[in-house]
């Protein structure tokens, strides 16, 4: 295959100096537009900003004061809440989705299609649309009569089941060869053993995908923590940013410092598991 046909635009064909310059300018522009604002955030978080109206792009007088003020305003507690929610929420989500996928991918049973369609339908019922009834349900779970308002569990439990994870996992589990399962079954292995020892280990790439997407999905939650919060004690860090901004004595530098703490975990997860992320994006979106 010739180099010229590798890409749609065939930009490799361009060898003239003008074309190369143009390409560099375009790349620089893309970086400035998309990474520039985040760079400004990073720099401002460490800057001693005297003028509260401006973000600083050029570092001057580096300081950790912004973080100190942010910590005084309880940012560490909110960060801890966020980690607690994402930790247990993701654990629950992965366990629940892998269990459900095992049934959907490896079993045949009555009403399977109904279950499948019901799970798909939940994709059209995001927290936004359900906000009002969800806040009522959270304050008094039907039958159990438990009040989850004002508890971190109120954020963790509802994110426990996510149709996206179940669908990605189901798709992947279908492709695990039957023979492995049969052999284990003849050896007398039970369902749970087959699930945990045979099927799950074969699904590591899919686990990466649902792990990464689950993490960013839970970390990005806004409306749900807002519905659950009775006071600031259960705020997650994204939720706390607004409170911080509204506080008249807090400077933008402090808000940016807290924002940096709020974006780092998901950016780190993305950078480390980029392959899973991109894989999930393309497989999740293109298989339809």
């Amino acid at each position: 295959m010739s180099a010229a046909s590798e890409t749609a635009l065939g930009l490799k064909e361009s060898r003239t100096p003008q074309a190369r310059l143009l390409k560099l300018v375009i790349y620089a522009l893309v970086l400035v537009v998309f990474a520039g604002p985040l760079l400004a955030l990073l720099v401002s978080a460490f800057n001693h900003v005297s003028d509260p109206t401006q973000l600083s792009v050029v570092p001057s007088r580096p300081t950790l004061d912004n973080f100190a003020v942010a910590v005084d305003h309880g940012v560490l507690k909110y960060l801890l809440n966020s980690f607690f929610v994402v930790g247990f929420g993701l654990l629950l989500q992965v366990v629940v989705s892998t269990l459900a996928s095992y049934a959907l991918a490896r079993k045949r049973f009555r009403f399977m299609t109904v279950v499948f369609v019901a799970i798909l339908a939940t994709l059209m019922l995001p927290e936004e649309i359900l906000a009002i009834p969800l806040s009522l349900i959270l304050s008094d779970l039907p039958v159990l009569h438990i009040n989850l308002i004002g508890t971190l569990a109120g954020i963790i439990v509802p994110v426990g089941a996510w149709a996206f994870s179940i669908l990605v996992m189901t798709e992947f589990m279908r492709d695990v060869p039957r023979e492995l399962e049969e052999a284990a079954r003849i050896d007398g292995a039970g369902e749970l053993r087959i699930f945990a020892r045979i099927i799950l280990p074969m699904c590591r790439p899919a686990l990466g995908v649902i792990g990464v997407f689950g993490f960013t999905m839970i970390w990005d939650q806004y409306l749900l923590p807002m519905l659950v919060a009775a006071d600031s004690s259960t705020y997650t860090l994204p939720l706390a940013l607004r409170t911080l901004r509204i506080d008249p004595v807090v400077t933008p530098g402090v808000v940016m410092a807290a924002s940096l703490l709020a974006l780092l975990p998901s950016v780190i997860v993305f950078l480390f598991f980029q392959r899973s992320f991109v894989h999930g994006l393309s497989s999740g979106a293109l298989k339809g």
């Binding site: 046909s5 079993k107 299609t113 936004e128 996206f164 369902e191 979106a285």
Partner: protein, 309 residues
């Protein structure tokens, strides 16, 4: 990101019940595995949706008991100026943001397709906005949109002799500003999906086009874009649905203001429901929003299916 997975995997009819061994044949085994997911969905998706439907026909009074009011809430919602305006804003935002993100995403994908190290670094950097929490993006852009001349974006505008603009603080520019922030976050996402789509376009067709002497432009128009058709419809439906239920960025950037110029359905519903406690009316609004999403999903899937046949 998955509404799309809808069609492919519908499992075969349940007629072929598996009975490999006694244990696996027990009918309740799959249900045991499904139970946690089904219980959670029941509690946090289906019961709330059912409640929303019921409440939308009621005058909800927490301690006095609910009153059945028929279609009153719907009439109130549909005829209120506030809701009509919010619905128009929502559609405007969803359409412009979707179109803008897709166009910019496609351009980015075409410009940055390729395998070199440098390109993959730039792609990752451009993708960062997608993984940054929305709340952070909103706070960042609030500061960038600072309305005085020395605000970050205003000083850039000043360099080319424009502005200062009020951005989110001026009713004339507030909607455009919210949309711009949305495109900034949406375009890199679309770029990644387009890149995946581009990788799937048949390379032989490019060769053939070159052999036929087609210009770069014609190749793009007649080979690449048709090859991306399914990507377009997927992105369209995902982005449009996300656009319709837009909440966080509007809530944090403007909360519907100034002067209602950016009020969308979701910010209106939360105001009605959570702040004014008008649960019945708010539920009617939510049900209408759900129906709009449902309609859009069904129409697009029917169109796609017809196209495929």
């Amino acid at each position: 990101m998955t509404a799309v997975k809808a069609e492919p995997a519908a499992p075969a009819a349940p007629a072929t019940q598996e009975r490999v061994s006694g244990r696996s044949g027990r009918w309740w085994v799959p249900w045991l595995f499904l139970a946690p997911a089904l219980v959670l969905f029941l509690y946090f998706k289906f019961i709330p949706m059912g409640n929303a439907l019921v409440m939308s026909f009621q005058n909800v009074q927490p301690f006095l008991g609910n009153q059945w009011v028929g279609q009153d809430n719907y009439v109130k919602v549909v005829t209120s100026d506030g809701f009509q305006q919010a619905a128009w804003h929502t559609v405007l935002l969803a359409v412009v943001q979707t179109a803008g993100s897709m166009l910019l995403g496609l351009v980015l994908a075409l410009l940055m397709e390729g395998r070199s190290r440098r390109l993959s670094f730039i792609r990752s950097a451009a993708f960062l906005p997608v993984v940054v929490p929305m709340a952070v993006i909103a706070e960042l852009w609030r500061i960038m949109y600072h309305p005085t001349g020395d605000g970050m974006l205003n000083s850039l505008l000043g360099l080319v002799g424009l502005g200062p603009s009020g951005f989110i603080n001026d009713p004339h520019t507030s909607m455009a500003s919210v949309i711009a922030t949305g495109i900034w976050r949406g375009a890199p996402y679309d770029m990644m999906i387009f890149l995946a789509g581009l990788a799937g376009v048949n390379r032989d067709l490019y060769e053939a086009a070159i052999v036929d002497g087609a210009s770069r432009w014609r190749r793009l128009l007649h080979v690449t874009l048709p090859g991306l058709r399914s990507v377009f419809s997927i992105l369209f439906i995902l982005a449009a649905i996300r656009g319709l239920r837009v909440f966080t960025e509007v809530y944090l950037l403007t909360n519907g203001g100034p002067n209602g110029s950016t009020e969308v359905v979701m910010t209106l519903i939360t105001k009605l429901g959570l702040e004014q406690n008008r649960l019945g009316v708010a539920s009617a609004g939510a049900v209408l929003l759900f129906l709009a999403t449902l309609l859009l999903t069904v129409v697009v899937s029917v169109l796609r299916r017809r196209e495929r046949e």
